[in-house]
Symmetry: C2
Subunit: 343 residues, 2 copies
């Protein structure tokens, strides 16, 4: 890897403005102890020269780290790319850089990435995406983040609750409940669930909502088939095949995210099973393509871009004594993939 070249330094600016290094530094960092008159002259000179501080020197000297580490399961999954978009927007407004990395839905790999970000001395860490139902790994992650925070780092997470840090919490349970209620209202009684991997808390939470909806109507949740596969389009395909094979009389499939729902629709299309005439399908998230699928997908809308924005905004606020929680709303969006139960 290349070396950085010689560039404009703060001394150059200071000299040109006829002040000391310290005064120049104070002027540009907006610290007080400088007369506004001098400060603005320095800023002026810096701007003219096109000076930009060397972040490495600045950080090393004990200044602020100006980068944000963002951990997503996979950036080319629309759910995460929309969140990333929100984070990058806010970062851009604040002049911060965003360092992005993948966790690949592997808790150990995720922990490694987090450690790497900390070693890289980012100032803020945002973790997007489901937590894991494994208390040991969550505890390890929590310990790492706590240590990071105690050294002055800031953390916010999206959709995880077990980490003891500021969190933006999409309403997974209520969303699941809304989905279940919607199908029950349409008269469906033989509903199957294409669920993601059992190890993900998002799956658990959404599932809890669905089960709650059944209980609300006095139905027995135990009778509902739940198929656990990957929390991806491909997982949706495989789950659907299993559902069609083992429970051929199913009239509605709940996919616990839109990616899975796309897999569900794809298999149904392949098997020429009409949606929603013979089978209703719902998803969760409302990624931007959900409206363009055929049939367009009934789903629960989560404001992903805002989730990303809120998370970074939360992390950038002065630290509070205890972890803040920002619940986010959800909205059932009824489209063409759901209809009355057949017969």
């Amino acid at each position: 890897m290349p070396k950085p070249g010689p560039r404009l330094r703060l001394v150059d600016v200071a000299e040109r403005a006829g002040v000391s290094l310290a005064t120049a530094s104070r002027s540009l960092t907006g610290r007080d102890g400088v007369s506004e008159e001098v400060a603005s002259r320095v800023r002026q000179v810096a701007a003219e020269l096109g000076y930009v501080a060397n972040p490495y020197a600045r950080t090393l000297a004990g200044g602020a780290s100006s980068s944000v580490g963002l951990v997503v399961h996979q950036v080319d999954d629309p759910y995460f790319s929309e969140i990333a978009g929100g984070v990058i927007q806010v970062a851009g407004e604040q002049g911060l850089m965003v360092q992005i990395c993948h966790s690949g839905r592997d808790p150990h790999y995720e922990l490694r990435q987090i450690r790497h970000l900390i070693a890289q001395r980012v100032g803020v860490i945002i973790i997007a995406g489901s937590g894991y139902n494994d208390p040991r790994i969550e505890a390890e992650t929590k310990a790492e983040l706590t240590a990071f925070q105690s050294l002055g780092g800031r953390v916010a997470v999206i959709g995880r609750h077990a980490l003891g840090v500021d969190a933006v919490l999409p309403d997974n349970e209520a969303g699941g409940r809304a989905l279940g209620a919607h199908l029950l209202d349409l008269g469906h009684r033989r509903i199957a669930v294409a669920a993601g991997t059992g190890g993900l808390t998002t799956v658990t939470d959404r599932m809890a909502g669905v089960l709650g909806a059944l209980r609300d109507r006095g139905l027995d949740p135990a009778e509902m088939p739940v198929v656990h596969t990957d929390f991806t389009r491909d997982g949706g395909c495989r789950a659907t095949e299993r559902i069609l094979r083992d429970h051929p009389d199913t009239t509605a499939i709940i996919a616990l995210n839109d990616a899975m729902a796309m897999g569900v629709l794809s298999v149904l299309r392949g098997q020429k099973i009409p949606v929603p005439k013979r089978m209703s399908v719902v998803g969760f998230d409302d990624v931007s393509v959900a409206a363009d699928l055929a049939p367009s997908l009934t789903t629960v809308r989560l404001p992903m871009t805002d989730l990303g924005r809120m998370a970074l905004e939360l992390a950038l606020k002065p630290k509070s004594a205890r972890a803040r929680r920002r619940p986010t709303g959800h909205r059932l969006v009824v489209r063409d993939s759901t209809g009355p139960a057949p017969r």
Copy 2:
């Protein structure tokens, strides 16, 4: 923003290993001048202690910058998120961090982002996304990148040819030609184009291919309606409305990317115009949802993830005397959105 906290330093490792700072540094950076015996002992100790070098200190001291700057138009556009996925994959394999930023399809803003990345002392810059048909801004960008390279920085671009740097070049023109030929083969003669903003070279190149296909058959390109709108889903909607209004006898619409094609399909669906029975539609890129649209989209497949991978791999190679060019193939993927011209 927080300060970095006290952490393990190289001196600690050196002390623990019973060597000097210099030797420890040499051992860990793999530089020679150390006996293999000592070096491996130092590495061992570092590993035990979980030591990770402070990148700020390392870079400041004239070492290598280990981060990659990635500029995309918009990360929540599937085309770019897939490219980003590829870049992040390779970066992960090499232990590099990826700093991502948006250009928002604005050449001036893009240039600002590039300058910011350079100021941040990234070692590598990858620019994804169309160039601009404005020679002045391209020249400015080129100058900036050239200066960056002459200071040891590495650059690679995806889908831009005017920058004089290593480039991965998707076959836009041949892809456009394939699309045109496909529709002509199906008997379409009244074809309209939903093109992106005229200022983008990608639009120009794909358009050139389409026009070439017409000329190949001895048809007059001048007769084909071309509507320029934003290179997005929304632009596709607006273009379609204009096409339907001004050229109601059109039998096929070529959208110059899949995002626009999704807008096209959406408007046609809204107006109950059957696809492909009454109107054929094609896109370009083959983003992963293209196969899940209804009808599934005929398009030109570009290997986006590979584009991202190749770009970073190219940038990481030792610099060559002149700019390298890696053309990438394309493949027409015929799905359900195209059919014979009506009557």
